[in-house]
């Protein structure tokens, strides 16, 4: 089959995109697979200045998943542009994930990254649960989300703008509609679910920040439900994510309406996972008799069979 995914202003060879924060700046994985085979690469969230992130410990393994509270440690946009981006293979689209603490900062960052020919799209992180300022504070209020989205879209130099939504809201479709109304080109969801792990022997939380973001197979049913709901609520394309580890998982997200997917924690389970998924997804789709994604996408029936 032809696995190509046509998104507004962005064409992917296949629907598999490593998710931000789980794939470094891409180069780390060059020894585990051919980066050029991926649909796109979504790099670690970038801020205007480097960030050291949160204190340790920052990760805790939980059943079928993990909690993290990294706090957006990153090298900053300048180092990324000078020392990382030039070394990524030109054949793979690069999606820059943006983190800022004000609409003005978001616009500045979008202007810098949007002007780079090698950046195919911008993903706006308004859903990180692990930072005090910015992050999810813009993703839990439709008005704030609208403001940030508009600011990024206006500064993005025509590049597609993907707004990454938080599941830590009462009604994710309200947030989706706010982003769409503000001019978002696409949506991606879900970011991590806020969670907690504690140690009864030390009587202390397992993460230095107390709470963190839950990811991995444990969150997949929640993610699927939200992607399904958002796909019905908006008319812009949706990139689904949340606990995807297998080809079946990928097709489930496409079935409920996602145009492409991001794969995150699965890369921690083994570093070559996104690469093997590219082949496995194609093989599974062909087994199911799918010849183009549009035949299958969003064709979920109303009732169980």
């Amino acid at each position: 089959m032809d696995t190509t995914v046509h998104l507004p202003g962005l064409t992917l060879k296949n629907p598999i995109i490593p998710a931000s924060g789980t794939f470094g700046y891409g180069l780390e994985f060059a020894r585990y697979g051919d980066l050029r085979r991926l649909g796109a690469i979504c790099v670690k969230g970038l801020s205007l200045k480097p960030r050291e992130g949160n204190p340790m410990p920052r990760i805790a393994e939980t059943p079928c998943g993990m909690l993290n509270s990294i706090g957006l440690q990153n090298v900053g946009v300048d180092v990324f542009l000078q020392k990382k981006l030039p070394f990524l293979p030109p054949e793979v689209p690069i999606i820059a994930n943006l983190y800022a603490q004000s609409p003005e900062e978001f616009a500045e960052l979008a202007g810098i990254l949007g002007a780079k020919e090698r950046i195919a799209a911008l993903e706006v992180n308004v859903s990180c649960p692990n930072v005090r300022l910015g992050g999810v504070q813009f993703g839990q209020d439709p008005e704030a989300l609208h403001t940030v989205t508009r600011a990024v879209v206006a500064a993005a130099q025509g590049k597609p703008v993907i707004v990454k939504l938080s599941p830590n809201v009462t009604d994710i479709t309200a947030m989706a509609r706010a982003a769409e109304a503000a001019g978002a080109t696409m949506l991606s969801l879900i970011n991590t679910l806020t969670g907690m792990a504690v140690d009864i022997r030390t009587r202390a939380p397992r993460l230095a920040t107390g709470t963190g973001g839950l990811s991995g197979p444990a969150i997949k049913p929640v993610a699927l439900r939200m992607v399904h709901a958002v796909c019905r609520a908006v008319s812009i394309p949706v990139i689904g994510m949340g606990g995807i580890v297998s080809a079946e998982d990928v097709l489930e997200f496409i079935l409920v309406g996602a145009s492409a997917v991001q794969v995150g924690t699965a890369s921690f389970m083994r570093p070559d996972r996104v690469f093997s998924l590219v082949d496995e997804v194609q093989a599974l789709a062909e087994d199911l008799g799918i010849s183009a994604w549009e035949e299958f996408r969003g064709t979920l029936k109303e009732t169980p069979r």
């Binding site: 470094g24 780390e28 994985f29 670690k44 050291e52 410990p57 440690q73 921690f268 570093p271 070559d272």
Partner: protein
């Protein structure tokens, strides 16, 4: 690429069943002492998210060997493996120990950290002027690899079962590091309190030292940012790719 599937050749619990020697099929690698591998056996399923990092005790035509202590659900499942079971392995990972053949070198091992020195018992890594001091809590017989290593490296062991023993071990560490002096080199792998004590002694006596950190790891490849250590300049760096072995002067010990 660098993620391979290896079958288990043998799972050998020691006289104390919490210490397990895992022999896997040969890996096509030439690791250096102090480097590690991530193991993910099929029996982790989806329930366990991360692979588990282990020092490479041996890696040659006979196979890849790691020796570990059962401390949680990952190591419990590894200990439950049987010959023929499949394990996904990625490596060799990280930066190992930096040594010079002519330098008098003191290996300081604490508990299962002993396994990190295994490759120094093999060519081409044997050091003519090396000695090993092993601090352990379980009886020495619980560590069959100690006896294996002692045939190739001059080894001494001190057991700690009381706070007086720990005090005596600390004094011995201090005496040895001081006696080694600035022309020597200390390499340490063990529990974090031991690493701290050794780092402090190396800095105090001006003795070059390297420690292998034990930070919990998620991915092992530098991207989850869960294992970071703080450098002397305040930067947070991934233990899995910038370490696990660090020069004691490169880190902050506050």
């Amino acid at each position: 690429m660098n993620t391979i599937q290896l079958t288990i050749q043998a799972v050998t619990p020691g006289p104390d069943p919490s210490i397990v020697d895992l022999a896997l099929a040969p890996a096509p690698w030439k690791p250096k002492p102090g480097q590690f591998v991530m193991l993910r056996p099929a029996n982790f399923g989806q329930e366990l998210t991360w692979g588990r990092p282990f020092s490479i005790y041996r890696c040659d035509e006979a196979g890849l060997r790691v020796v570990f202590q059962v401390i949680g659900r990952g190591t419990e499942r590894l200990a439950a493996l049987r010959p023929g079971d499949a394990v996904t392995v990625w490596g060799p990972l990280g930066r190992g120990f930096q040594t010079k053949p002519e330098t008098p070198t003191l290996f300081l091992a604490g508990g299962i950290g002993l396994a990190a020195f295994g490759l120094f018992a093999e060519e081409p890594f044997r050091l003519p002027h090396a000695q090993l001091l092993f601090g352990h809590r379980l009886p020495l017989t619980a560590y069959p690899i100690y006896h294996e290593m002692a045939q190739r490296i001059p080894c001494e062991a001190m057991r700690q079962t009381s706070s007086a023993d720990i005090e005596a071990f600390s004094e011995e560490l201090s005496r040895r590091i001081k006696a080694l002096g600035p022309e020597g080199l200390v390499l340490c792998c063990g529990p974090t309190p031991m690493l701290r004590a050794v780092a402090r002694l190396c800095l105090e006596h001006g003795v070059p030292g390297q420690v292998s950190l034990e930070n919990r790891m998620g991915c092992g490849v530098g991207v989850c940012l869960g294992c970071v250590a703080t450098t002397a300049s305040g930067e947070r760096v991934q233990t899995c790719v910038h370490g696990p072995v660090f020069d004691v002067r490169a880190l902050t010990w506050d």
